[in-house]
């Protein structure tokens, strides 16, 4: 392929010199003319010293050091409010949440990092949250769940030290209790009945939920496979029955 065959479109002519068009900002374009081998060597040495002046300048001014002594400055280190480190549930002053199990966040999550399970026997309302499991190990911190939540239940907080020794501990249960939402709980007058409707949840119970889900899915798959197999057997039997007429029919004919 030669470039003769490719037509070059009409373009604005290139400027004669490099344009340093940054207004007041742009310095003069540094053009250093070639001044022979010996002159070149001297200019090289000079620019070497210019560079060294800058680096030594920083060495002399320790105030310009920007290094953070991380594990030592844990007390004072504060990350911005919006920093996306860990997904968290918004619980109000009473410890109630507003998650109605609408599953919008679960569907919006690009990598199935949110697993929501409902209570099998809801105490008060029709649907009640059992556990809201967030998997840190597959989360990409895209924040989509936070912006799509219609009730403002989720937020990201800056607890960034999330390393653990067992990766199973990276599946967190975010809700502190299994039970109805705040508005329902507030209608219950009796504090004991309120407490009875709420069942505490452990942050590290997430893995059990995932495993239960996997067992459930596997059982479902096995059942589906068995049903498919049964249907296939029935189909084959029907086909055979149609292809080979029963001997009585032959005799009759």
């Amino acid at each position: 392929m030669s470039d003769e065959s490719i037509a070059v479109p009409e373009l604005s002519p290139p400027p004669e010199k490099h344009v340093g068009t940054g207004g007041a900002l742009a310095g003069p374009v540094p053009w250093i003319d070639k001044s022979g081998a010996v002159g070149g060597v001297f200019k090289g040495i000079r620019s070497l010293f210019t560079g060294m002046k800058i680096t030594v300048g920083y060495l002399m001014r320790p105030s310009t050091v920007v290094t953070q002594q991380y594990p030592e400055n844990r007390e004072t280190l504060k990350l911005p409010d919006r920093f996306r480190a860990q997904l968290a549930f918004n619980h109000d002053a009473n410890g109630y949440h507003k998650c109605t199990m609408c599953r919008i966040c679960e569907e919006a999550c690009p990598n199935v990092s949110i697993i929501i399970t409902g209570r099998e026997k809801p105490a008060v309302s029709k649907k009640e949250l059992d556990s809201f499991v967030w998997r840190l190990d597959s989360c990409t911190f895209c924040n989509t769940c936070v912006i799509v939540c219609p009730f403002g239940v989720l937020r990201f907080d800056g607890t960034f030290e999330s390393s653990v020794y067992d990766r199973r501990l990276l599946a967190y249960t975010l809700n502190e209790y299994a039970g109805p939402v705040a508005s329902v709980l507030e209608k219950i007058e009796d504090p004991d009945a309120r407490k009875a409707a709420m069942e505490p949840r452990d942050p590290y119970g997430g893995h059990a939920v995932i495993e239960a889900l996997i067992v459930k899915q596997k059982a479902k798959k096995v059942a589906e496979k068995a049903a498919r197999e049964a249907a296939r057997v029935a189909r084959v039997a029907a086909k055979l029955a149609a292809a080979v007429p029963p001997p009585e029919a032959e005799n009759a004919g």
Partner: protein, 386 residues
């Protein structure tokens, strides 16, 4: 036009063209995929005759993640966060490219404030990307100090992003219909402080690297790329502009608020490594100009005109839109069948086309200059493979 296809094996076993009065022969060297100067997992197969490079064959696929295919299985909002991971140094521009095509196709409206914020953060990220490139370029040429200085100043932009966006690299900030958060109350103050910090630093950069005779001699006349070949190879961004083609989508097809701001498009003359260096240094200054014009004039308004829905429906058809990232033209082609997820989505990424210029630049040159040429293209490998 005919397309000539050859395998790597055929090229390696091709006839030797070694030219020397001595009995020499060509040899092959693998540069990468784990080479510190290839900026990621890029493998270059070099056909060498002594120190002269006869041929460069980029071999791709070491970081292919199938982002386009993954996009077909999710909805549009889910695809936006995937493109962060293509060219991670222009994550916001990538977000914007997808957002732009979805907004254009689904006829979503934005306001001036959203566009102003998008323009501002994208220009900040262009500076951030060029600062990182400057540091790495200095390191590839053998000076380790620029790397520290470039990263030190880039860190401040990352801090600004951290405050407003909550992430430093993969941000997922620009969303169809708006931006994810409003700017932080301290954003304007921080950006102004950063600009007044960066301007003297640019002078220092010039003293350290630009005006250094050793660097100039090292870069001038190396890796020339003519304007015709740059266009033929599909190069965009600073690589194309350094070859003397004043093509910048921010000027020719203004999006965001670029039509309202005053800036220049720096253009080189020779298309050598020095021109590419100079164009990028100049672009930092132009980005500063753009930010200075916008930072005090962010209009009031919402950051999402309507509450963001998890699912967006795009009318059936083929939609395309493109913009200028720090490395060139990023185009997104979207084929929709009217459903919630795209039928096919394709990204025309700048790095892929820019990479193939290396063959044109390096052939006939010396192997010692190859690293400088590769670094002057400023490639990000995940953007090539996707």
């Amino acid at each position: 036009m005919s397309v000539h296809v050859s395998t790597l094996q055929a090229r390696i076993s091709g006839e030797s063209t070694a030219s020397s009065p001595l009995s020499t022969e060509e040899y092959f060297v693998n540069m990468g995929p784990q080479h510190p100067s290839t900026h990621g997992v890029l493998r270059l197969v070099l056909r060498l005759d002594g120190e002269t490079v006869r041929e460069v064959v980029p071999v791709l696929g070491y970081i292919h993640r199938g982002i386009e295919k993954m996009g077909e299985h999710g909805n549009y909002r889910q695809f936006v966060h995937l493109v962060d991971r293509m060219d991670y140094l222009s994550a916001l521009a990538n977000n914007w490219a997808v957002t732009m095509v979805v907004e254009k196709a689904a006829k979503m409206e934005t306001n001036e404030r959203i566009e102003a914020i998008r323009t501002l953060v994208c220009e900040l990220q262009r500076i951030q990307s060029h600062l990182l490139w400057w540091g790495v370029f200095g390191m590839d040429l053998g000076g380790f100090t620029p790397f520290f200085y470039g990263l030190r100043d880039r860190e401040q932009i990352c801090d600004i992003f951290e405050k407003t966006i909550g992430a430093r690299l993969t941000m997922n900030y620009i969303q169809p219909g708006g931006v994810m958060f409003d700017i932080h109350p301290e954003f304007v103050k921080d950006v102004k402080a950063f600009l007044s910090y960066l301007k003297p630093k640019l002078v220092e950069y010039d003293a350290l690297l630009t005006e250094n005779v050793i660097i100039q001699e090292r870069l001038r006349g190396i890796g020339r790329l003519s304007a015709a070949r740059a266009i033929a190879l599909g190069a965009t961004g600073p690589v194309l502009r350094a070859s003397g083609v004043a093509h910048d989508l921010r000027k020719s097809e203004p999006y965001g608020l670029y039509a309202q701001v005053d800036f220049d498009v720096p253009v080189g003359t020779d298309g050598d490594c020095w021109d590419r260096y100079w164009v990028r240094m100049e672009e930092i200054r132009q980005s500063i100009r753009i930010i200075e014009q916008l930072i005090d004039n962010i209009p009031e308004g919402k950051t999402f005109l309507v509450k963001p829905a998890a699912k967006i429906k795009v009318p059936a058809g083929i939609h395309y839109s493109h913009l200028e990232t720090a490395r060139g033209v990023l185009g997104v082609l979207l084929v929709s069948n009217g459903k919630e997820s795209p039928y096919r989505i394709h990204c025309r990424t700048p790095n892929f086309n820019n990479l193939w210029c290396i063959g044109e630049m390096a052939t006939g040159g010396r192997i010692g200059d190859l690293v400088a040429m590769l670094s002057s293209i400023d490639i990000v490998v995940p953007d090539i493979d996707r």
